[in-house]
């Protein structure tokens, strides 16, 4: 049975989550890492540990926007045998046990090869709520793919950086319908530690723009201190590299400890 899109029951899980009165913790990991079959275990353990949202990384051979940690986890995942189809197969029944928003984050070429429409359709069938595709430019999305994403109920999330102009931020805000991924500083993932005055001013400057979409900060968040700083002005924060390091050293069964260390 289908409900019209305006009915709250059919609201995208991302939008519902964003309405909750709390700062959100979102976690990124590379699917297929550390082991090929860890994907669903990681997702379930993340939800059980109290994480609010998950970004499932679709590994790519040439992740331009990522630093060494995510590059390595991506490379290892591919070596382990991860593919787009396998990831979809692994996620087939994920909505039987997991209810928080799930986002797939990946580079555009693997999606293009799978077929953008087929990719979006499968995402909807599985219960994926949104996509983050760093190298799909805003204008190309707007002209060529927006209708397809919307047809399958997917929220596309765009990035902004400290260098993004006010006009461009306003344009991105106008075509977004979930949240804006606010890159904390000019950097690839996992390269900076700690926030200075420059970042805090930037977070505040964006908050003062009163955009229609809430902002979630990513890049450079690795512990409770940086999470707290990032969410002083923003709705939430995303952790990737630090979580992958945790998986590398502590495995998939102590995710609780990681989440607790961020939230407390």
């Amino acid at each position: 049975m289908r409900f019209p899109p305006s009915r709250k029951v059919n609201m995208n899980r991302i939008n519902s989550k964003l309405q909750e009165d709390k700062k959100l913790l979102s976690i990124y990991f590379s699917a297929g890492y550390p082991n090929l079959e860890d994907t669903t275990t990681i997702i379930q353990n993340l939800e059980n540990s109290g994480v609010d949202m998950i970004e499932i990384g679709l590994p790519f051979s040439d992740p331009l926007a990522d630093g060494p940690t995510i590059q390595e986890s991506s490379t290892q995942a591919l070596k382990n045998g991860m593919t787009t189809q396998l990831l979809f197969d692994q996620l087939k029944d994920i909505r039987k046990t997991v209810s928080i928003p799930l986002i797939i984050m990946g580079y555009f070429n693997p999606m293009l090869q799978y077929g953008v429409e087929a990719f979006c359709k499968t995402c909807q069938e599985i219960g994926i709520d949104g996509l983050i595709i760093p190298d799909l430019p805003v204008d190309v999305y707007n002209e060529q793919y927006k209708a397809t994403f919307e047809k399958y109920g997917l929220i596309n999330v765009f990035l902004i950086t400290p260098q993004t102009s006010v006009e461009r931020i306003q344009f991105i805000d106008s075509i977004s319908n979930g949240f804006i991924y606010m890159v904390s500083s000019a950097s690839v993932t996992g390269s900076k530690t700690g926030f200075g005055e420059e970042q805090t001013n930037y977070f505040k400057r964006i908050a003062d723009m009163k955009l229609k979409n809430p902002q979630i900060v990513g890049f450079g968040i690795s512990n409770n201190e940086t999470f707290t700083q990032a969410t002083q002005y923003a709705k939430g924060a995303i952790i990737g590299s630090a979580f992958i390091k945790h998986l590398a050293t502590d495995g998939v069964n102590t995710i609780n400890n990681f989440t607790n260390s961020i939230k407390n």
Binding site: L64, Q163, T164
Partner: protein, 393 residues
């Protein structure tokens, strides 16, 4: 139909700027300014003067008599090998360093495979007193020690790319990551007609001096500005883009792009992108590239380190798809044999990249009165070790 770029940055279906938002301000700054800057009289004057006095242009258009006799057609060689630093690469780095200066940049980054573009970049940075960082795959650093030494002697810092397959595509990834991390003071000098718009067009325009000269040189020698054929090897495709540029819209001039077949197109060790590649995105450009069915970019192979790029510039993808250029694949063995032939018939030792373009005569018949211009894109000094090992010299 046009074979050149349109105002949206595409050659037909290929090109564009598929870049993360972190790169947008840099690429957009360049896009908004490159044509304006290139049109400034002071820019043109500085560019032309350096090409003349520093690079040694115009490079000769040489009628290769003995090679012509052997293949029973009229062969002219465009002697880019005689440029300072030994290849066509310097045409682009001169242009881009002047561009970087006018954009107020203080720091230059570049990627390099075999080291030719790295050396050409280090050279112009020394010339202009600018900081230079060259990313080079760890494996290539080991294979190309003389060029690494050259770059260091010229004052550049050579940074090993340790990610992925540790070769050219990974060096390019690392350079792009550096640019993301340094969004204000840095200019990225890409070495070929690849990458996000406006790079393919900008690099093609800097290399276009090659076909501009061919036009008047051929007029002097043959009384006509147009050859019947222009032949060039293609890795990313900058020397071909330069040699084709002024002939793109004149379909009386047939264009031949020569790719590296490695050990054979279907051997699993090849760099013949037009045959093996599929449409996709690499380094910010929609083009043909070698990839798995799952969209993971694969590692090409060629004996020539300058041709083993898994993609091809978007201009060439368009020339291939439209049939405007004929694409021919040449194996390692065919190229090496052609390199030896040119050395012994004409006293010119070509770069192995160029040897691929010289090897088409077994596959392609020309008429005795055809005028065939081959872009002799680089000299073979850098490849001596390869030639020595191959021919047991």
């Amino acid at each position: 139909m046009t074979y050149n770029i349109n105002d949206k940055g595409y050659y037909g279906a290929f090109g564009g700027a598929y870049i993360p938002e972190m790169l947008y301000p840099n690429v957009e700054e360049l896009r908004q300014n490159y044509l304006k800057i290139m049109a400034e009289p002071s820019f043109k004057e500085a560019f032309d003067q350096l090409l003349k006095d520093y690079v040694g242009r115009p490079s000769p258009l040489y009628y290769a008599k003995r090679l012509s006799e052997k293949h029973n057609t009229k062969i002219y060689l465009k002697r880019e090998d005689l440029n300072h630093t030994g290849a066509h690469k310097v045409n682009n780095t001169i242009g881009q360093i002047l561009m970087a200066q006018r954009l107020g940049k203080k720091r230059i980054i570049a990627e390099t495979g075999a080291g030719q573009h790295g050396v050409a970049t280090a050279t112009v940075c020394a010339l202009m007193g600018m900081e230079c960082i060259v990313y080079m795959g760890e494996i290539d650093i080991a294979r190309q020690a003389p060029n690494v030494a050259r770059m260091k002697m010229l004052g550049a810092k050579v940074v090993p790319a340790l990610s992925g397959s540790k070769t050219l595509k990974d060096a390019t990834n690392e350079a792009i990551r550096d640019w993301i991390n340094n969004p204000v003071d840095t200019h990225y000098i890409i070495g070929s007609v690849v990458g996000p718009h406006p790079y393919p067009d900008m690099v093609a325009r800097f290399q276009a001096v090659v076909s501009e000269e061919i036009q008047w040189q051929l007029q002097e020698k043959e009384g006509r500005t147009t050859p019947d054929y222009v032949v060039a090897c293609v890795g990313g495709g900058s020397n071909a883009a330069g040699a084709f540029y002024h002939y793109l819209e004149n379909t009386d001039v047939k264009l031949i792009a020569v790719e590296a077949a490695g050990k054979g197109i279907h051997s699993g060790e090849s760099a013949a992108t037009s045959v093996l590649g599929k449409e996709g995105i690499i380094h910010g450009s929609k083009t043909l590239l070698m990839q798995t069915n799952d969209g993971q970019i694969t590692e090409p192979y060629s004996i020539s380190a300058g041709l083993d790029y898994p993609g091809v510039g978007p201009m060439h993808a368009h020339l291939y798809k439209t049939g405007r250029a004929e694409f021919i694949s040449i194996t390692d063995d065919e190229a090496m044999t052609a390199g030896l032939e040119l050395s012994q018939l004409e006293g010119i030792i070509p770069a192995i990249e160029t040897s691929h373009a010289l090897a088409i005569f077994d596959q392609k018949q020309f008429k005795p009165d055809d005028i065939v211009v081959i872009n002799l894109s680089g000299r073979g000094d850098k490849d001596l070790q390869n030639y020595i090992e191959y021919f047991k010299l």
